[in-house]
Each structure stands twice: as C-alpha cells, then as structure tokens.
C-alpha cells in the first residue's frame, strides 16, 4: 500500500520482537465475536489515477460551480490571490497539529498571533481567539459566553435578521445548556432590526442582544443605537458578520459598542467549497478574556529572552477544565485562519478597503438597475453592503431563466421568510464581470415582460 511502508520483512521482525506469532495475536484483547463480525464490505483500494478520476467525475457533476454566482447568504464568491494557496500547501503548516510543543511550532503560533491581531483590528475589539468552527457556531458560543458574563440573566434576544443558520445553531447550542430563553426581535420595514421593539424588550433579564452586521439582508444595522439601549440595561451586544469583507469599510463592531463580535471569515482567503471549511472569528473586550471560548496564543520569552509564542490561558479550556471549560471546542479551523491571515496581509490596509468599496459600489449599481425594472422592487431602503433583497411577482421565473444562462441568481428568501413572498437575496462582489451582470439584468428584464 502506497501510504503504508511496512514490508513483509518489517512485519515479521516487529512481530518477533513483540513476541507474538501473527498480527491477529495483537488483537487478543478484542472479544472474538466482535472480530468475527468486523469484516468491511467495501471495494478494494484504488490507484491514485482511479481515485482522481472518481473525484473528478463527482466534481464535474456540480454544474453550479461553473455558474456566475450572485448568491451570498453566508458564503461569498471572492477572488483569492494565488499566494494564499501557495502558503496553505506548505506541508509544514497543514501537516502539523495544534501547537502543543511551541519550540517546534513557532510557525503556526506566530501565524495565529498575527491572525488574532488582525481579527481584533477588523472587529475593533481588544482580543480575539485562535478561531471557531464558523460564523454560526461562533455566534452560539458568543451567546453562551454572554450568558456566563451576565450569569443571572435568563434571556437572549436574537434579531430575526440574523442569518437563519446562525439562529438555528444558537437554538441547538442553547437547548439544555442552562435555562436560557431565546427571543426573536422583529424586522422593521427598512430591513433592520426593529429599534422600537428592542427599546421595549431589552430588559434586566436580557443577557445579550444579537445583531447581524451587515444582517442577513445585507443591511447595515444601527449597532450604535442598539448598543446604547442595551448598555443602559447592562445587556451585552453581540454582532455577527457573515461577510467579512464589509469589515474593511464599515465602522468596526467594537467602535459601535459591541461587546462580543463574531464573524465568518470565509470571504477572505477561502473558497466557498460548498459551505465549509470556513473560519469563525471571535473577539471581545479584554475584561472578558478569561470567559472566552477557544484557544489563545500569547507572546512569551524563552530562557534567552527571545520573543516567541505559546498557547496560553488554557485554564479556560476543556483539556484542563473539563466540564467547567468555557467551551468544548478543541480542534478549531487552524489552516483556514492562516488563509484568512495571508489574504488580509496581501490585501493590506489599502487593498481590503478597495475591495470593499468595489463590492458595495457594484451591488448598488445592480440594485439600481434591477429596481428600475417594472415589476421588481428593492424593498428595503436602509443602507446595505454587497447584498440586497429584490422582490417581485415573477421573481422565481426570472431566477430560473437566469440559471439557464449559467447564473446563480441569488437565494430565494421564502424558506426562511415566508412573509416576504417572492423575494431573493442577491450578492455582488469584485469577481463579477460586467458581462455576467448584464446577463443577469437581461434575464430579469425578460422574465418581467
């Protein structure tokens, strides 16, 4: 077997040294009935060429991967410069474990330290961890953390405009974990979380309020206003960002008053890959650092005073604290945090802003063009980033027509928001060529006729 180096001679020598007659003898502690019934009804091994052909044929059956993708909704088509994957393919990075032995893991450790720094800069908060699984579970962990911080409170308010998957994940995580109620805050006519409702409903029992930023409809929430209300009642504010590119342009959650800010980092450095792996970003104020979930890397000095990095504050974690840990997370999204870091470094201060500007400008242009088609409207008037909702009677027909021309024309909202009727969420980024945008407009125009 090409991945297993043991030759027949090796096996013989090793068995002799151990002092057993054959391989089966090594398993004598496994009850014989279990061994007898353990046969694997699986095909025999294949050559690399066969494996590759099989996978290629599966990949070829994903016709949507070749479409011009105007779908966002939590996973975004962005350009990833080649330098990112060049780094990810470094076996020294991808074949290492969580950096338990810092002296021979400084590469991973320094990269995480840089990641933590960048995440805290983007989210505008003091401290970020080494990553969470994704935006959704990071949001759920943020809610759990808020419940620890405000540990006498029993209620969490989650905006209905938060990504549906994130909301579902919060529900799953909270079920059974203490006795916290999740209350949904409604949406106003602008596509924002209803401020008046929040003013009435955030109370002394409220541990935290969760907003999307931008929210699921691409709309930029007025985080500062909500924070003012929440903080007045000592509730924490959590923001969840699924389009991390927005953080290069919009005021940071921290600046607007968020106490915990989480995000999905896929947009920066990571292909959509059918939704995973991405990387969850998690940041908070330094006063809460010992309540944070997830690993943390800190600076340290060696015996000669050299600067280095180590895993730190591990007493929060499951391998030390077990059932009292701040989270059960162990393996996180290490390599994806590296992708994120490399991409942000390559873009830099200027580049990330340029990309964000290009995104928002292109999305607004398209919204305008579509909104001026008879029968279609852009229902929400609040400012949005690179996603927006479009509504109209014949929308599904238009989307189906567009799909025929090789376009993935957004996501239908009805499965999560039946109240909107025929509505779709469209996303435009720097990858969309004018020709594809024109084709999309044409498809919608034709269907509207």
């Amino acid at each position: 077997m090409r991945f297993i180096p043991h030759t027949a001679d090796d096996v013989r020598a090793m068995l002799d040294h151990i002092g057993v007659a054959d391989i089966d003898d090594l398993f004598e502690n496994v009850p014989i009935e279990l061994r007898r019934s353990a046969t694997l009804a699986l095909a025999p091994g294949r050559t690399e060429l066969e494996v590759r052909r099989h996978l290629e044929s599966l990949a070829a059956k994903n016709s949507a991967a070749a479409a011009a993708c105007f779908a966002g909704a939590g996973a975004y088509p962005h350009f990833v410069p080649a330098v990112v994957d060049q780094i990810l393919q470094r076996a020294e990075f991808y074949s290492a474990y969580t950096p338990y032995q810092p002296e021979v893991s400084q590469g991973t450790l320094q990269a995480i330290f840089e990641f933590q720094t960048i995440v805290s800069m983007l989210l505008g908060l003091d401290v970020a961890n080494a990553s969470m699984y994704d935006g959704a579970s990071a949001t759920a962990e943020a809610v759990l953390m808020a419940a620890r911080v405000r540990n006498k409170r029993r209620r969490v308010i989650v905006s209905r405009a938060v990504h549906p998957h994130y909301r579902e994940t919060i529900t799953t995580y909270l079920e059974g974990a203490g006795l916290i109620d999740v209350v949904e805050a409604p949406i106003d006519a602008q596509g924002r979380t209803d401020g008046a409702w929040l003013a009435q409903n955030i109370d002394e029992q409220t541990a935290a309020v969760v907003l999307g930023y931008p929210n699921f409809f691409g709309v930029i929430e007025d985080v500062a206003a909500v924070a003012a209300i929440a903080h007045a009642r000592e509730a924490l504010v959590i923001t969840a960002t699924s389009e991390a590119v927005a953080l290069g342009l919009l005021k940071s959650p921290g600046e607007l008053g968020a106490d915990i800010a989480v995000a999905e980092g896929q947009s920066l450095g990571i292909p959509m890959s059918y939704g995973g792996p991405g990387v969850g970003l998690f940041a908070t104020r330094s006063e809460y650092v010992r309540m944070m979930p997830g690993r943390l890397v800190g600076e340290a000095n060696d015996t000669a005073g050299r600067r280095g990095y180590v895993l730190t504050l591990a007493t929060r974690e499951q391998h030390i604290r077990r059932e009292k840990a701040t989270s059960n997370i162990c393996t996180n999204q290490g390599l994806m945090s590296l992708a994120f870091t490399v991409h942000v470094c390559a873009l830099g201060k200027q580049g990330i802003r340029n990309v964000a500007l290009a995104n928002t400008a292109a999305a607004h242009r398209l919204a305008q063009r579509l909104g001026s088609i008879k029968g279609l409207e852009v229902p929400f008037q609040a400012p949005f980033f690179n996603e927006f909702v479009i509504r109209g009677k014949r929308l599904d027909a238009a989307r189906a027509a567009a799909q025929k021309s090789g376009l993935l024309a957004g996501i239908s909202l009805s499965r999560w928001y039946p109240e909107f009727g025929d509505a779709a969420l469209l996303c435009v980024t720097e990858v969309h060529e004018d020709s594809a945008i024109d084709a999309l407009v044409r498809a919608f125009e034709t269907a509207a006729k």
Binding site: M1, A43, P44, R52, A96, V104, D302, Q333, K349, Q350
Partner: protein, 505 residues
C-alpha cells in the same frame, strides 16, 4: 557546550548536518510600510466612497500591515520552516493519529467543481457534492456498523456535542432528559465539556488496575437518572475495553445510552465495529482516522453516527437518495437542528473520500493492523527503560510515564523537549490525566520501521542521558528556533495581539 551536546546525539533525523540556519521573521506588522500593497486590487470605482453614508464608514483599518507580495510569501515561508509536521518528521502525538496526509486529497478538494460550489446551489446542480457526502456516510456506516451518519459537525468535539444533544433529545422524547452522564476518568476533556454543554452533570468512573472500566463499576454508578455513558474505545491508555459489550448492556438495562468517543477508530477498522460493542452514538474524527490534515489545529470534521433509535434526532439537513438522485432534506421533525452553517466542513469530506477509496476495505484494515503493530513494537522496545503505565498488549498507542526518571530529577516535560532536539515531535504528554507524567505515543501505520527504530533509539538514549547527564535534558531544547518559553509568565500577563512598540508610536 553546543558541540559537546552534538556528540551525544545518536543517529536520527538530525545526525549528519550542522546546526543549521533558521531565518528570523518578525510579526508581519513590523514589516509594514505605508503605501505597500500585496494584491493589486482594482482601484475603487469612482464615486464608490460616497455610495454609503459617511457616518457608516471607518477609516482604513488601523494597524493592518502594508506589505508587497514578495514580502507576504517570504514571511509565511519562513514561518512554515519553524514548524515540524508529519510531512517533515515523525510526530508520535498520542490520541491525535498523525498519519500521512496523501497529497492527492489536496488536489481533489481543490477541484473547481468542489471549491467553487456555493452551499445554496440547487441540489440538481450539486449532485456530485451530495454524492460525495452520501458516499462518505455509507463508508463510515460500514466501518462503524452504525445505521446513519451526519457529516455536519466541524470537528470531534462538535460531533460529541451533536451526539449528546441527540441523547438528550431522545430522553426528553422518552419522558425526561435525565441529569447525569458517566465518564471514565481517562476520558478526553471534550467528553465532560460536551456533556456539560448539554446540561448534564458528569460522574467520573475509575478504571481498574489494568486501566480498564469494569462492567461492575458502571453498574454501581448506573441508575435511571443517567442519560448516557461516554466511553472511549480503545480508551486513551491505548487499551481495548474488554468488557465493552457487558458495559453497554448494563447501561441499556437502565434505559441509558452509550456514547462512544470514536477518536481512536484507527485501532478498530476491520477489527471491531462500535455498533457491535453496543454503542448507540459516536463521533468519528476524519482528521485522525481518515487522513485529512490537522492543519495546525483544524479544520477537522467530526461526523456523528447513530443506531436506528437515534436516527430521527440527527442534525439536519440530511442527504437523502431516491432513484440515484440526491437531495437535502430537513423533513425530520425530531432533529436536534443544526450545529453550524451549511453542510459541514465539506472540503474535508472530499479528502476523506479520496482516502477511503484509495485504501478500500482491505487497506483500512491493514492500516489498523500496522498501526497496532507499530505501537506494540514501540511499547515492547521501551518498556525496559521507561515505566509502562499498564502492562500487556496495547492497541494503536501506548502510554509510558516518567516514574523511573523522577529520581534523577527528570520529568516528562524534559524528555519531550529533548526529543525535539533529536528531530522528533514529542508524544502527547500529561494526558491522560490518570497517569502521572504520561508519555502517550501513537506512531500510526504510515511510519517506516526504520523511523520507528530511530525514535526508539532516541528515547533510549534520552533515558540514559536522564541518568547520566540530566542537565542536557533540563537545558533542552537548544537547537530549535526558540528555547523553552516562559508559559507561566505568558499566562499571568497575557499579550494576545501585536501592538506598536511604544517608541514607534
């Protein structure tokens, strides 16, 4: 001093070369110069600045580095060279199954048909992705003997969480959630943490003097307030739980469920199926047994597998297959819901499938056999020099300790640090907690006998050094990019992000 040390170094990965040059590299922020750029993005279109109200916008993000592409590449290349990885050296980290990550897996996951696929693509335009998930589920079901599988969880711990949420949902469905979960003292930390996240109180079960859980001990702890036993098999001592079948019977007899931590599945393929042991639910770590890379701490993938009674509770959506057409279905009213967005770490599913197909049934069994053979070979070769925590045959890993070295003032940590200097990554240390000064060694099946022999020679040399020149161990490592780092101080005054040095501010 340095040179004296060199002479004591026996053959192994570092013999034969000079000390070597490590190129230094500061945090990338210190490379930043105003105006540099690493990706030439198109200039923002005219008027873009005024598309959104100015009060919504931040200035450009303060502190983000400004570096050219050559600097970005060089920075991360240098960093990479400070790491050991399985690709560069033996990485016998117990419980982590640091096997070889086949390169073809990486190619497969990067195929445009996978990498560029949006998770909300219509099912009919994503049949290949659905088939990939379906195939992985089927193979996992065959290997574990379980009835149904969900690939949604992002890692082992999330698989545990999903599994325990299902345990809870099951009990709620059958009357009440119950309050307790039994967990052996040797269990991985994620087990109690996951149970606690589901609102359970954990009850610790002690192993016997052979390192094993006895059915009798479970019987004593078991009552009808126990929701489940979370058991690892082989356990974290590398030992097969010989009474597993009886244990499961005890748990089942009181209406409890058996959660099996499947992190050690690499010891079982073709040898024993968890379902036959009595497991009702388990997670599988694709990044251990099925060769997807650990990535310096992820991404992993932690599919959860269940027997029929728990199937209704699996996370949704699930892949269903009708007439050779695959579709996502959320039509499972009893589901625990989702534990994350979309469909799991799909890129890892592709890699795992590539691996499963490459090995096939016989290959998976051979992997297990050779992993167990190698672990026993190491055990046998070291048990005269090191204290072996529990005697006799082990499965895919073995646990030694520093017991016999204490008298020379040598601790497990010293052994580990000295090993780094010999060119090997260290075993898992101080875990499992039930063994004081544990040294947990898992070679996996992808290391050659010669490499294992070199490792054994190094371990034996270190035991000798511990007795004869213990300071060599205390001072280790001196040839790694940095020496021992002051972790206590780092935790006391945590510096968790880079900040501009005062002088430059």
């Amino acid at each position: 001093m340095q040179e004296q040390e060199d002479e004591q170094t026996p053959s192994g990965p570092i013999a034969g070369k000079q000390a070597g040059l490590i190129l230094d590299e500061p945090p990338i922020f210190e490379r930043s110069r105003a105006g540099r750029i690493g990706v030439w993005t198109a200039a923002a279109p005219a008027g873009a600045e005024s598309v959104l109200p100015a009060e919504l916008l931040r200035d450009s993000v303060d502190g983000l580095p400004e570096v050219s592409e050559p600097e970005v590449l060089r920075h991360f290349l240098r960093l990479s060279q400070w790491n050991y990885g399985t690709a560069t050296t033996f990485y016998p980290l117990g419980s982590c199954t640091m096997k070889y990550n086949p390169v073809v897996n990486e190619v497969a996951a990067r195929l445009a048909g996978f990498a560029n696929l949006h998770p909300f693509a219509d099912d009919d335009a994503a049949q290949g992705a659905l088939a990939t998930i379906w195939e992985v589920e089927r193979i996992l079901a065959e290997v574990t003997g379980m009835d149904a599988v969900s690939l949604q969880p992002a890692a082992g711990a999330q698989g545990e969480l999903a599994g325990m949420k299902m345990v809870r949902a099951y009990h709620v469905d059958h009357g009440r959630a119950r309050r307790k979960v039994l967990i052996p003292a040797s269990a991985h930390g994620t087990n109690p943490a996951s149970a606690a996240l589901c609102g359970y109180t954990t009850v610790q079960i002690e192993g016997n003097r052979l390192g094993l859980i006895e059915a009798e001990a479970v019987r004593r702890a078991m009552d009808d307030d126990v929701a489940a036993l979370m058991i690892t098999n082989p356990n974290t001592l590398g030992l097969f739980e010989r009474e597993i079948v009886q244990i499961a019977e005890v748990v089942h007899s009181k209406g409890g469920l058996v959660y099996l931590d499947g992190a050690n599945l690499n010891a079982l393929m073709g040898i024993a199926k968890p379902a036959h042991m009595g497991a009702d639910v388990m997670q599988i770590n694709l990044h251990k047994t099925f060769s997807t890379p650990h990535g310096g701490g992820g991404p992993g993938s932690g599919p959860v597998a269940v027997r029929q009674i728990l199937e209704p509770y699996l996370p949704t959506p699930r892949v269903v297959c009708r007439d050779k057409t695959y579709a996502w279905s959320s039509d499972f009213p009893k589901t625990i819901g989702r534990v994350r967005s979309f469909h799991g770490n799909f890129g890892m599913h592709v890699r795992a499938l590539a691996y499963m197909l490459a090995l096939g049934g016989d290959g998976l069994k051979l992997a297990t056999q050779m992993a167990v053979l190698s672990a026993n070979y190491i055990r046998k070769s070291l048990e005269d020099e090191y204290h072996l925590a529990y005697p006799g045959l082990c499965m895919h890993e073995c646990v030694l300790s520093d017991k016999r070295l204490e008298e020379y003032g040598i601790k497990t940590l010293d052994v580990a640090k000295r090993l780094l200097e010999y060119g090997f990554y260290a075993p898992t240390i101080y875990f499992p907690l039930v063994v004081s000064g544990a040294i947990m060694i898992e070679p996996t099946e992808t290391e050659s006998k010669e490499t294992i022999d070199e490792f054994i020679a190094a371990m034996r040399a270190i035991a000798r050094e511990a007795r004869e020149t213990p300071d060599v161990l205390h001072d280790a490592p001196r040839r790694t990019p940095v020496g021992r780092l002051d972790e206590a101080r780092a935790a006391r005054r945590p510096v968790l992000r880079w900040t501009k040095p005062e002088t430059n501010a």
